[in-house]
Symmetry: C2
Subunit: 393 residues, 2 copies
């Protein structure tokens, strides 16, 4: 089978897709009224001014004799909604008031004020820190990192920006290799020349500019073991693609990077995950966002990821030996049944069918199960056949 | 303070050090008799021939009517010893016999035979796989990954090579940035041009060749938060260094990479870890190896790492605020006291004193505690002052 044959279905898919550029609908374009809140990526100048306005409002409230209080958007599940037209979770308009003169909220208000001061300083200096750094600037006040992290999300909602815009980043986990070149903080990075280890995806996606690529698709891999196989075999040399992994649960930096690639290049994304509920959850985090950061979902999510494999129906189709399938635990089955109720599954009949099959057969399999046919079966047989047949959903 | 002033003590230290090249004593050079076993890095041809010899011995044993059995070096703690002259843990000469015709060992013998067959195949193909891939080639036989991993270590000891020589690698975690250039699988990698995210350290260190550097020292950082600060501030531009992190517990790939840099460049290594027993344990794994892979210690360990910081005495010296110090838990104190008994601490009076101080004050602090003086205190004050004063032990 020649490479051009193999890539046929991928190219067709690509032509069906929108042209490069941000093609997704915005919340403001929908006729849903003012009840939903979404945040934007803001530059440091605008974040600083946002914080200043919040404090100006507070100051006026104090002057009026109405006290020191913040109005904070509620981020609980009851205030979240999945919007089908957008294919992501957004926040509804419920807010709560946090007063300094209230024993129940005085700590939160103090923490919030301190965090806003620190973020203002970061924006002023133009540097980034981790959530851990932030926590350590005042351990006695924050007590646990969980508290400063929570308030950080509140502050992002109040300012109306992403958490990354606050210059506070999570640690980096993701790696990338393959047919893409970009500038990172000015340095030219060519991901076809990154040996076998790949390039670490930076925590500050806004430092990435001038993205260029001749890739036909992005291969999004759940685990680093599969990534290593693909990298060592230089899979991207034969099949023009960009290979990315977040090594398990997707981190914010990898999600932002994937989204940026998708919007710049407009090429399809193929997901390669374990055939278990957890693999699907990982795809869903890339596509619809996590509940915890739903306010930020527009900036973090990349809808329309194709589920290439490993799918429950592959176990029969590719004859994965019984000994490499694992029985699903009670907890797996419960998670699978819960996923069947999720909107992102229900709206995609092919996905629903696969998940139903998984829960019915009570069997799961990791990507590594393909190694039972030989260590290079993944790169030499499974993926080429899937791509040539257009076998994704 | 000028940069040359700052680098003075580092340069002096470097001149005191040995010239580049493998300067460490070998086990065979010591007058300890034949009781100790160490493994070597072998190429795939020699590993294949090693496996073939083991099976030839087995075949002859069967032909003589003495049955199918393997002689396996014992890897338990009772067969391990710390050798001061080498500054690492080695295996003593105890072995055990595993017979196929014994219900207690038949499974181990079967697993061992299967693993040797798989490793032979990998060496023949010249590819690498993860421990997880290996496990998945025969789930029903191996049952848990722990079993195939254990046998893999046994096979390495039997062949007399490192686990990495078996072409089975752990997943990659480490990243590097700074003043070093090398070829990785032929690609030229310049770590001064890796943006802010750095380069992922590859799992196959033997693919790294042509290392060149003008660095004066290697800065070994425990956590990625500190790494990110150093990378964003391009610390290596002002202070000629190579910055490495394994993001917590050191993985095999990062340890091999560090060792290779040290042996090629012959420059000092400065460790920057949390001021707690866990930080010291991390330094000890880089220096003396972990008990679990003691047979491989010569190939994985890099002795003579300097403890730059954060040291217990720094908490007073740099006036780390009370609120950023954390009380040690019972478990921390117990671990600290156990460490005081370890050879690698006892043989270094300055380290012993610091650890004693930690256990006495029952206080710990993370690298991030330095953020309480400002987010860039680490790169602009703490490290420059330490380096200028030669404040390492």
């Amino acid at each position: 089978m020649s490479v051009s044959q193999v890539m046929g279905p991928v190219q067709e898919l690509r032509h069906e897709m929108d042209a490069p550029g941000p093609a997704r609908r915005k919340l403001s374009e929908l006729d849903l009224g003012d009840v939903f809140k979404e945040v934007l990526e803001l530059d440091t100048g605008r974040v600083r001014r946002g914080i200043e306005s919040i404090l100006a409002v507070v100051a006026r409230s104090i002057m009026r004799g109405e006290g020191f209080r913040y109005v904070v958007p509620t981020r609980s599940a009851s205030n979240q909604m999945y919007v089908e037209e957008l294919d992501r979770i957004v926040l509804k308009d419920k807010t709560s008031s946090r007063a300094f003169a209230n024993t129940g909220t005085v700590r939160k208000v103090t923490i919030m004020t301190r965090i806003m001061g620190l973020v203002w300083e970061l924006c002023n200096k133009g540097i980034h820190v981790t959530k851990r750094d932030l926590f350590y600037t005042d351990v006695k006040l924050f007590k646990t990192q969980n508290e400063s992290d929570e308030v950080l999300n509140d502050v992002a909602c109040m300012v109306g920006c992403t958490r990354t815009s606050l210059s506070v980043v999570a640690s980096e986990k993701g790696i990338v290799i393959g047919r893409v070149r970009f500038r990172e903080a000015g340095d030219l990075i060519d991901c076809t020349r990154m040996g076998v280890g790949g390039k670490a995806i930076p925590p500050y996606v806004e430092r990435i500019t001038d993205i260029e690529s001749d890739a036909e698709f992005i291969l999004l891999v759940e685990k680093d073991a599969a990534f290593m196989r693909l990298a060592e075999d230089r899979f991207y040399s034969k099949y023009a693609c960009i290979i990315i992994t977040a090594k398990g649960q997707p981190d914010v930096a990898t999600r932002l990077f994937l989204k940026k690639l998708r919007e710049t290049l407009g090429i399809p994304i193929m997901g390669l995950v374990d055939s278990d509920p957890y693999g699907l959850k990982i795809l869903s985090v890339y596509m619809s966002g996590s509940k915890n950061m739903s306010y930020d979902s527009a900036n973090l999510t990349t809808p329309d990821i194709k589920w290439l494999g490993v799918r429950p129906s592959d176990l029969e189709k590719y004859g994965i030996p019984e000994r490499c399938r694992l029985p699903m635990t009670e907890h797996d089955i419960k998670t699978g049944k819960e996923l069947l109720q999720e909107d992102f599954i229900k709206k995609n009949p092919a996905w629903y069918k696969e998940l139903e099959l998984m829960v019915k057969n009570k069997e799961k399999a990791e990507i590594q199960a393909l190694s039972s046919f030989g260590f290079q079966y993944l790169t030499e047989e499974y993926l080429p056949r899937k791509l040539a047949q257009g076998d994704w959903i």
